[in-house]
Every structure is written in structure tokens, then in C-alpha cells.
Symmetry: C2
Subunit: 335 residues, 2 copies
Amino acid sequence: MTGSYLAGVDIGGTKIAVSLANTSGISIRVYQNTRLEGTSTIIPEQVDFLLRYACEQRGVQPDTIMAVGVSSCGPFVKEMNRTLLVAPNLCGGLVPDRGIIPNDWTRIPLEAVLSRRWSTLTIENDAVAAAVAERLFGAGGGEDDLVYVTWSTGIGSGAYINGMLIHGKNGNAPHIGHMYLAEDGPRCGCGNFGDMESLVSGLAIARDYGGGLTAEDVFKACQNGDGKAKEIISKAIRNFARGLASINAILDTKVIVIGGSVFINNSEMLLPGIRDEFYRSFPVLSEGVDIRPSGLGSYLGDMAALSLVMPDDWIRKWQDNELWERAPPAIMLDR
Amino acid sequence: MTGSYLAGVDIGGTKIAVSLANTSGISIRVYQNTRLEGTSTIIPEQVDFLLRYACEQRGVQPDTIMAVGVSSCGPFVKEMNRTLLVAPNLCGGLVPDRGIIPNDWTRIPLEAVLSRRWSTLTIENDAVAAAVAERLFGAGGGEDDLVYVTWSTGIGSGAYINGMLIHGKNGNAPHIGHMYLAEDGPRCGCGNFGDMESLVSGLAIARDYGGGLTAEDVFKACQNGDGKAKEIISKAIRNFARGLASINAILDTKVIVIGGSVFINNSEMLLPGIRDEFYRSFPVLSEGVDIRPSGLGSYLGDMAALSLVMPDDWIRKWQDNELWERAPPAIMLDR
């Protein structure tokens, strides 16, 4: 088994990362900026290139890779039972009025292209994959009722209910960011007005402050006592917690794990307020829910993708030895 | 098998109904006003009495009842793996400031008391049980991704995802009524401000109009051209549809079935607006979702409870012959 390899692929709006792993741990991590120009097959082709590159570097025959786990930004649609990406941060054709993505794609035939060479393929939304990884290796503690929420540039989530990872008809469950939280809120990238992402995402925090500051700048300003920044962040905390209460009303969960750059970089400032507001909601539903920060931190991306395809005997070995901690530094392939 | 009987129990805030059924259909339906005075075991004792009464009327030995399905208002908690009701419309101790429920109960030991005599017992939230019945016998058409929502005095829901009826850790999934939809909305009976129930329930519609009118009066006023009633109902339609979009963001469902007295009595007025608003939300998630009215109508209460325990061979026979249509009139036991 030590000769066998799994591959993990993490597809985001800014970079695509690939890792290979065996029973000793992660052996290589490579990444590139996401290619957004050309035809709509360019991203799956880039993934294929990175997988072959990583194999070559480690002297692994591509056809000996046992399985490839793909963790990707969504949403997805299915056509002929194959997954296509309809992701507004990859497909310029979905958000023509924003004009910041240099292509006119409306969908990316991810599974159709990748499956030509990589036959054992599992594709999940990145936050769903993160839920799998946190449950197995992070803060989830193997719980059967578990929600993972990422608070980052956008808002995403993954969830188990009664031990089952939920998918829904197109694999888009649970898209927590597009639940409504306000009657007359700002416009989300998806077109909704007043959904969770439009109110609390990193982009929303930056937009609410204005003046070209990033969300991270707003958090720094808040720490330095800036009143406007404080107000924006208090409101974001309140709405984030109300979003958690809403998904808990639907899923009656036990553990909520929070990750994502906005949260992880500011967790000490955010977590107490999130808990206060969450437990203020309907006590019969909110009592007994445990809210925890992500346990995998910077390893979450690699582990999310690999967790999707990891066999049970590997999982135990990785858990016992916390093998993700020994991952090598990632290699950036763009000069 | 024709000699065998199943029992269904429907526990609501105003009445408790019991039915017995065999492979020929429902053979008896009895109900009483819900007993809300006395000790916290009075409701399960009343259920036990009604079950024994129905058996006696049909000459059935109680210990030959194959199984009892209980569809009850919630929420639930579990203690020693047994279900207790913590329902604000049964337990006066949960809502002391409202002072309208003449007891100080905070929980009702439903399963512990009932299971003394009725050993094969399945207890579900009433809207969850309704989802089972609509999927098998009503408008659900056997779909694996299905949400049932009741729009009545309160708001409730039940859901299948990928073929699994969802429960969550205490059997409270999915409590759609307690999802937030407004930042500064009215107070719900559960204590939340701005959740779906506080905005659109029958009680909310009556409260928004004021003057002692019921929700049904407000709908009539709307049909007669009353501007205030029109505005209240338009807002309720919009928020109800946004609630459906939110649960769909979480569950990525295929079919949404709507029941409940507020909806059923006014479905022609409500359904077009619900659909318009729903499909206005994030198209990638809302497209391809079918919104349908309940198919079981007035039989839903009995069928919800019975569906919980009906064996597969009965189900096929009931489906083929639409046996619920032949149910006898219900017998009211209070003078």
C-alpha cells in the first residue's frame, strides 16, 4: 500500500492546487494561478497538467493513482450525470455585468474532461469537502451531525446529518451563503438581495467600509478603535451568527466548525460574539450546539480534497499520526 | 394481513386525533380537544385512552396493533433516547409570559408514557410526517429530494435529501419557521426576532392587520380590495417564498410541496406570487425546483401519522386504490 498514491485537487478562483499522498503523508504539493482565459475546458486541462506534473516529479505513473478527490468552488449542475461547474468566480458569462472575469463561459465541463484520464474521481464543493476533512481529521470529532462553514471572500458550507454527507439533487447542498437574512439587504454576486453572503462575506465587509480597504484592513481598523469598522464588524458578527442559527434550524446539528480566512485571521475577535448571538436564538434549537474553530488551519485545502477519496485504513493511520502536519511546502509553478 | 391494524395519532395544540387502519383503508377516526390541564403526563394518557377507545369500537385487541405512528407538534428533546415534547403550544411553562396555556409544563414525556402499552412506536414532528405522506401518497411523487412546508397558524417543514428523511440530533430538522428572514423583524413565539414564522404565519398575518381579525378575515378583506390587507399578504407571500429559497439553498431540493390551512384555503391567491418570488432568487439554485400544492388535503393528518409505520406491501395497495379517500367521518368524543 505504501507504493499507492491518492491525488487531491483544490480549484479556487485564484489558484488551483494539487497534492499527492500515500500512507506516509503528503509527498508533493504544487499550485498555479487559475487560468481564466481560453475555452471552457482550460481549467480541467490545467488540473490534468498539474496532476501529471506532480506524478512526474515523484516518479509515479498517472495510471497508478488510486483515486482523485476534487474540491472545487461551486455551484454545480449535472448533465448526463456528470458534474459541470457554474461558478460565478470562474465563469465570466454568468456575471457579464461585473466584467472582471476575462471569459464568457457559463459552465465548465469539469468531470467530462477530467474523467478521460482520471477514472476514479470524486468531485465536491470545497466547503463540503472541508466538512469531510474537519470531521475526520480536524475539529469535527467524527460527529454525525456536523456543519462546516467557511467565512472568507464568500460564504460556503458543508454538512452531515445523521451521519450522511448531504448533497441534494445537484450536489449544491448546503449553500448557506445564499440563504436570506435581511428583507432589504445589499445585492449578492448571485443576484439575491439580503442573503448571508451579501451581508457578511469578506467582500461585503470591504464594500460596507469603502475607500478601497480590504476586509483585513477593516479588521485592523476595528482593533485600532475605528468606530465605523467596529459597527460594520458587529453587524457582520450578528448576521453570521443568525446564519448559523438558520442552518441549525434546518439541520438540527450538534457541532458547527468555522473556517475560512476572514474567520481564522480574526477568530479571537469574532468567536465570542458569534456564540453570544447564536445562543440568543430559539433555545430549544440552539442549546447543546457546539461552535468550534477549524482544526486543520492551513492544511484544510489539501486535506479536504484528499479526504474525499481516502480509504478507511489510511484514515486511521493519518489520524493516529497527524500526517498532514508533515506536508512539504507547496511549489508555485508560475514564475 | 387484513386482520392486522396500524394506528395513527395526530397531536396538535387544539385537538388529538387517532385513526385505525388495515389493508382495506381507515376504519375509524376519533378525536378530542387536547387536554392541557393536569400533570405533564396528561397528553400521552389521553392518546392512550383514544387508542384504546378506537380499538374497543372496532373490536381490536390493543396488543394486536402492529405499530403506532405519532405525528406531533414539536420541537422535541431526547432523554435516555426517548422523545419528549417541548412544544410552546402545549407546554405553558415554556411561554409563561403569554399566559394562555393553563399549565406549567416545560416538557411532556410522550414516548416514556406511551411506550408502556404501545411498544412499536414511531414519533415524528407533524410536518416531517406530512412529508412522508405527501411523498408516498400525495404530491411528492416519490421524489428523493423533497421538502414539505406547512403554512398554517405556525410554519413547519419536513424534508428528504438524497432519499433520506432528515431528523438531526433531536428530530427537529427542518424547523423552517425559525430561520431568520429579516434583520429587525417582529418577535416570534420562540423568542426569535424576524424569523419566518414571525413574518408569515397565520398569527403574524392577523397580528399585522390588527383589530381582532383572523388570518382568514384578512384574506377575505384582500379579495374585497382592502389595501392594507393586500399589502400584508403581498409581504407574507414574498417572505414565504424567500423562506422556500433559503431552505432550498441548504437542501438543493427538487420538489417543494406546500400545505397547511392558510395556504390550502387561499392557494389560488398565493401560489403564483410564491413562484414568481422564488424563481427570482439565485437561478442556479432555484431553477428546476417544482413547487406544488399538497395532494392529500384534508386526509393529510391521518395519512401523516399512518405513513410513519405503514409496511411496503400496504403502501402499494393504498397507492393503487387511493384508500384514504374512503375514510369514514371522524367521531368527536367531547360532547
